[in-house]
Structure formats: structure tokens, C-alpha cells
């Protein structure tokens, strides 16, 4: 097993990530995103699994009117790129391995249940927030939007408020 490489310097990583956002906005008028790609996938999957029933869902109906093909969207392709990019980065730095990362005081099972619940909350929240930490918070700040600053403040503010309650999960 190769030794894990160190992480990139945070300021350098942030600077490059910021440049990437600028390039994306210059090309497309819109920044990066993640939760939107998951939404497109969910809707695409619903249409495959239950083509008729899914068209009865008002939200899907509304969505389909503007997105005829959820798979052929910018966010989905970006997410495919993201997967490859993450995998390559993990590969070159020797970090690709199957592992359940958890706090020292909980079992893997607890960690996985918490992961699912946390993800579920993030999924729901991202719909109300019209994007997650990427599309709403980071892009939102990049374009100086009040919504972006507000959602960043609320996400992190809530995080700090509730963190002591979930200390056992992590420390």
C-alpha cells in the first residue's frame, strides 16, 4: 500500500476552486452544483421505474416541462466529471480504499444510519434552499447574492448550534 499523500494547501485549493467557479460562470452564466444533479437522477430514475405514475406527481410534471431529458443536463454531466475527478485524485494520492469513516465512540452501523439520515436532511434542505453548499452557498456568494450569504450563514450557524448535541458521533 502506498502512503497517502498530503492534502492540497487549503488556500491553493480554495483559489483554484474559485477560479473554476469564475470560468463556469463566464461560460454558462451559472456556477457549480451538486444537489441538482442528484435531483435530476432521482427524477430520471422515477421516470424509468414508474413512467406513468411519476407523470402524476405534480413536481415531476412541472420539471419535465422545462427539462425534457433529465439525463442530458449540465449538472448530470458535471457530476460525472466530479466522480472521475475525485476518483483520479484519490488514485494519485493513494486514498482510494473502502472504509467506513466514523468517530471513535460509535459503531459502523450507527455511522451508516447517521449518514443516511444526515444525507436525507441535506437532500430535503437543499430543495428549500434551492441548492446545497455548492449551488446555493458557494455560487450564491460568488455572485454576491443575498440568498447565497444568508444560506451560508444559516447552514454554518445551525451547524455550530447543534454540533454539541451530536458530539458523540464524531469525538
Amino acid at each position: 500500500m502506498r502512503e497517502e499523500k498530503k492534502y492540497m494547501n487549503p488556500y491553493l485549493a480554495g483559489f483554484l476552486l474559485g477560479l473554476l467557479i469564475v470560468v463556469t460562470i463566464y461560460l454558462n452564466g451559472d456556477g457549480l452544483g451538486a444537489s441538482g444533479a442528484v435531483k435530476n437522477t432521482v427524477i430520471g430514475a422515477m421516470e424509468i421505474v414508474a413512467p406513468q405514475a411519476s407523470q402524476q406527481v405534480p413536481y415531476v410534471k412541472k420539471y419535465s416541462a422545462t427539462h425534457p431529458n433529465p439525463w442530458k443536463t449540465w449538472l448530470i454531466w458535471e457530476a460525472i466529471g466530479l466522480i472521475i475527478g475525485a476518483f483520479v485524485s484519490g488514485l494519485v494520492s493513494g486514498r482510494n480504499k473502502f472504509v467506513v469513516e466514523r468517530g471513535p465512540r460509535i459503531s459502523s452501523k450507527t455511522r451508516l444510519v447517521a449518514a443516511f439520515i444526515g444525507g436525507m436532511l441535506f437532500g430535503i434542505g437543499s430543495q428549500f434552499g434551492r441548492g446545497c453548499t455548492s449551488g446555493a452557498a458557494l455560487d450564491g456568494m460568488a455572485v454576491f447574492s443575498v440568498a447565497g450569504f444568508l444560506v451560508t450563514f444559516v447552514i454554518f450557524g445551525t451547524g455550530y448550534l447543534v454540533a454539541p448535541l451530536f458530539k458523540k458521533l464524531w469525538l
Binding site: C132, F144, V146
Partner: protein
């Protein structure tokens, strides 16, 4: 001028490439570890804060610089809409999810593909949460689309310029980097920041210089509009004028090479305007769509308003934005002169002695009513304010 809006298939390819760098950077920065991510909430590792904030200030500065050089049209980019309560509720749920799950959606996808099994469960959870939202949408729709406050930008709300805000936020970011390192140091004995002290101060110095530069720059449009507001704007610039009589002759001849830009108020425009004129506000001129409308081969553009001086200022502004000056004219005396001398022309009791002037009067008397008819027949006058369309977007 950006955004460039690449052709759809090319755009998907670009999405793939951009995504690649996005994933690579997230993973390299350490966002593929939930322990590193939640460190920001427990104070032992503020890497998330450092990367996230640096990305935000870099992007803000970049957008400001692009706009300053007129390379990016800020009216065309997606600005996250503010649905006040929806954003607050969403933010609270996301904050809770972040601490419990340890990942946000982007980082969970990223980490799943380097083998983090807990991250895979987060991805599944995100998908399930979105599924619940989709099927339960009717119950939460009023919250989701309620309390809409438009797309406000923070510097406008604070009543400062974009540059000043950028300056403040850059300084704030670097002050916070110094502060979070102190927190890490105090509670856990060491900082998670691998940057050598000397390098950190160098970065801070560079950022301070950038912040000071940002203080003095504005988007090109903002700069031009504030110059435009000066009373002597464009004083020394020559602008070609066209007389009402010439316009009248050309209209009678059926000349199709004139395009008119009406700078008056929409209600005046709707009442009576030159044939097929575009009613435009000064602020709309700065968009690139207008440029495409106006710079047309073989056509001349005539600006008219109620006041020739105003026409001239707008024409100078248009030249600065990039409209071709050889094709740009202003109507002599403005629309009131056109109205008085052509449309409502009254033959004076005593005719001038000069032959040309006398012929002009005869022409006006004969053709004035016909021109009026042409104007009236050019209805319906659509108030096509070539408003720039914002990019469709968002990531809900």
C-alpha cells in the same frame, strides 16, 4: 462578452471537464473525509472554512474583474433568488444534516467514489430526501415559493459598491483565517493549516493588495452610468446629427435602412413614435443583446428623445460601449422638433426669401401629414425593451 453560452453538446463536454476539476479539487482539499469536514463545527479542523471562504472571495474578485473589463455581463448571469423563509428553513435543515451526516451532497458524491462507505449512505440519503420532497411537494409548495424578495445582491442592500464589498469580505476572510488558527491552537494544541507562517503572511499581503485594488474598481456598466450622470459627459465628442427633414424625406421614399431608438418614456412612445422604433432605457443599452440589435450591416441607428442634449449623451455612451460611431446619429432638435417641423407643420404667413428654405416649407406642408400617417401606420408599436435574459440556472 460573457457568458458565452456554448452550443449544447459542447456545453455538456465542458460540464464534464469542469466537473472533473471540481471533483479533483474537492478530493485534493480533503473534502473526501467526513472527519475533516465536521472539524469545522468542533473547532479541530477549519480546512473547510479556509477552502470555502478562499473559493468565495476568489470567485467574487474574479467576477468583479471580468465585469470591470466589460468581459462579463452581470445582467445575464444567474443570481440566486431570495425566497426568505424557504432559504432559512432549507439552511437549518442542511446545517442539521451536515453535522449528522458529515457530508454535503457534493462532497458525499466525491467521497463515495474513493471508497468511503459512509459517504455512499449520505448520497443515498440525499437522493431519498429529494425524493420525499418531490412527492410531498404539494404540502410544502407554499413555503417553497413564498416570501419571494427578488434577486437582491448584498452590496446593493448595504448601499456600497461591489468593489468596496469585495474589499471588506477579503479582509474579513483573512482575519478569520488568523482567528480560526488560534481556535485550533487553543483547543487542540495545533493548527490544521499546513501553510508555513511566512507563506501565510505572504498570501495575506497579496490578498490585501488585491483587496485594495478591488476597492477602486467597478463593473464597467456601473462606471459608465456614473460617468453618464455627470452634466458634462461627452462634451468633447462629436456625434453626427440628422435633421427632421432628412428623416422625413427618407420615410417618404420608403427608406428601410434607418432604425430608430426611442429614448422617451414608454407611454410617450406608445402614443406616437418613429416607425418600428425600439423603446430603450439607458440602462438597457449596456447589454450585449442591444449591441446585436443596433450594429447591423448597412443600417444606420438614430437615437431620439425629447432633448437633443440627452440624445447626444446617450449616443456617446453607446459609442463607449462599442456601437459603431459611423452608423450612429441623433435627431436634431429631438422628437419635439420633428413633431413641430414635420408632423404638425403650419405654413407661416410670411414665407422666407431664401429659395431653399422656402422649398423646405413647401415640402413640410405637403408631406408632413403623410409622414404622420406613416408613423401611425407603423403600429402596433411593441415595447420591445431588449431586456437581457438571465441565465436559467440554480441547483435546487
Amino acid at each position: 462578452m460573457g457568458p458565452l453560452y456554448p452550443e449544447p453538446n459542447l456545453n455538456l463536454m465542458l460540464a464534464l471537464i469542469i466537473g472533473f476539476f471540481f471533483g479533483y479539487l474537492l478530493e485534493s482539499a480533503g473534502f473526501s473525509s467526513s472527519k475533516k469536514l465536521v472539524g469545522v463545527f468542533y473547532g479541530y479542523d477549519f480546512t473547510v472554512w479556509r477552502v470555502f471562504f478562499t473559493a468565495a472571495i476568489t470567485a467574487m474578485t474574479g467576477i468583479l474583474i471580468l465585469a470591470h473589463y466589460g468581459l462579463l455581463n452581470l445582467d445575464a448571469i444567474y443570481i440566486n433568488p431570495l425566497y426568505l423563509w424557504s432559504v432559512i428553513v432549507g439552511g437549518i435543515i442542511m446545517g442539521l444534516g451536515f453535522v449528522i451526516g458529515g457530508y454535503c451532497p457534493g462532497t458525499s458524491i466525491c467521497s463515495s467514489f474513493i471508497g468511503k462507505i459512509d459517504a455512499m449512505f449520505v448520497v443515498l440519503g440525499v437522493a431519498f430526501g429529494i425524493f420525499l420532497f418531490i412527492v410531498g411537494y404539494p404540502a410544502v409548495q407554499s413555503l417553497h415559493v413564498g416570501s419571494y424578495l427578488g434577486t437582491p445582491q448584498i452590496f446593493q442592500e448595504l448601499n456600497i459598491s461591489m468593489g468596496v464589498f469585495t474589499f471588506i469580505i477579503i479582509l474579513f476572510a483573512f482575519f478569520s483565517y488568523w482567528g480560526v488558527a488560534k481556535i485550533e491552537q487553543k483547543f487542540y494544541g495545533k493548527t490544521a493549516d499546513p501553510t508555513p507562517k511566512g507563506t501565510f503572511w505572504k498570501i495575506t499581503a497579496v490578498a490585501t493588495v488585491v483587496a485594495i485594488i478591488a476597492l477602486f474598481i467597478q463593473p464597467k456598466k456601473t462606471e459608465l452610468l456614473s460617468e453618464f450622470a455627470q452634466p458634462d459627459f461627452g462634451k468633447d465628442v462629436k456625434v453626427k446629427t440628422i435633421t427632421p427633414d432628412e428623416v422625413a424625406v427618407r420615410l417618404i421614399k420608403g427608406d428601410k435602412t434607418m432604425q430608430f431608438v426611442d429614448l422617451r418614456k414608454p407611454d410617450e412612445f406608445k402614443k406616437l413614435a418613429l416607425p418600428f422604433a425600439i423603446n430603450a432605457k439607458v440602462t438597457n443599452l449596456c447589454g450585449m443583446h442591444m449591441k446585436n440589435v443596433l450594429n447591423q450591416f448597412g443600417k444606420i441607428t438614430i437615437f431620439y428623445a425629447n432633448d437633443e442634449n440627452f440624445e447626444k449623451k446617450v449616443a456617446v455612451l453607446a459609442m463607449k460601449i462599442g456601437y459603431e460611431p459611423q452608423n450612429l446619429y441623433i435627431l436634431k432638435g429631438g422628437f419635439p422638433a420633428f413633431k413641430k417641423n414635420i408632423l404638425e407643420f403650419k405654413m407661416p404667413a410670411v414665407l422666407p426669401k431664401d429659395a431653399v428654405a422656402r422649398d423646405t416649407y413647401y415640402f413640410r406642408a405637403e408631406f408632413g401629414p403623410k409622414v404622420l400617417e406613416i408613423l401611425k401606420n407603423s403600429k402596433p408599436r411593441k415595447v420591445v425593451i431588449p431586456k437581457v435574459k438571465r441565465a436559467l440556472g440554480g441547483c435546487g
